[in-house]
Symmetry: D2
């Protein structure tokens, strides 16, 4: 209801591209992203506490902005890895343009 995003087109493209063999993340890579996401999860719970304790709105906004920034950084790191592996593989197979168009569709959502 709240979200007016249309993922239709993106999802269709995804269907055709996500069967590519993907270089799995190493344990170290996984752990690094996981730690960031757990920290973000903790920050979201922190905001729940702030709401519960009737904390000052501006303090809450500062925390929300910190989470936005942390999520963006995860997004950038996923995007970079995607380009270095999936998009690069697709280019090498001569299917780069489809892969690039798929990524662009998502970046447009992402930086909204």
């Amino acid at each position: 209801m709240e979200s007016s995003y249309e993922y239709g087109d993106v999802n269709n493209m995804v269907e055709s591209l996500k069967d590519h063999t993907v270089t799995p993340r190493t344990e170290e890579e996984k752990e690094k992203v996981m730690n960031r996401l757990k920290r973000i999860e903790g920050q979201v719970r922190g905001i729940q506490n702030m709401i519960d304790e009737d904390r000052y709105c501006v303090d809450i906004l500062v925390q929300i902005s910190a989470i936005q920034s942390a999520l963006k950084n995860v997004g950038y790191s996923v995007t970079e890895r995607h380009m270095k592996h999936c998009v690069t593989d697709a280019v090498n197979k001569g299917e780069g343009d489809d892969s690039i168009e798929e990524l662009m569709a998502v970046l447009k959502q992402f930086s909204k």
Copy 2:
């Protein structure tokens, strides 16, 4: 480390303004925000699972973008409430400009 945000100035201003009596959220208001934040928390855990299962990067990016959008909506609703209560009270007391400057400083972070 990852975040290059400087909350220094904001925090100083906050000190001077957050002692204002705040209209506490009603139980209904609290519940509504809480539900949104719990959904966001669940979405963050969902991404952890996606990383764990080596899901396709683009699918992960779509989810991150959905969380960004949900967090923004929480931010807007907190901002609107803040303006209708805290900023309005400050204006009525003749202290509106300080309150507005404080809010602007946070909005600049928020929409980064």
Copy 3:
């Protein structure tokens, strides 16, 4: 065609609110905003030259990002002035909530 923004609701609200007497900008204020906007106009022409000269895409993106940042700053300064004058006046007349809702609708567009 490219823009999917719907200004309908905003515009309707604007109709009812923009008849408020507005504190006109001083000559100094006007000049300051004008100078920023002229600089932005020059930057946009600069990008046209870069396209014309087949300059490197990344250089062009850096310039676009600089304009985005400059435009955001103009937007913030207009928003701050709006809150300090129009919204404050509306609050003083007991019509603050309408004015705040109108501003929120625009801020949601603005930070997209």
Copy 4:
């Protein structure tokens, strides 16, 4: 003064990458981007008139947000072209990672 962006790193990378032979834009491509940029230039001048005529702040903010959106679209189209030509060429020469890191550095600025 207003901009706190640091282009240092980006610019250094650019030095090493922008010597790559670039597929020049066709006349048609150039014309399309030029038309968009001229429209944006006109919109920026339009805001100058609005300031000059003391138009309602919210109307001005709506126009600024329209320009932001138009500029973003130019940025996306430049980014997509860059990926399909420059990044793809770099991948084919085995220098993809540098090109991707350069692009990521700019995207981080761009979506700020």
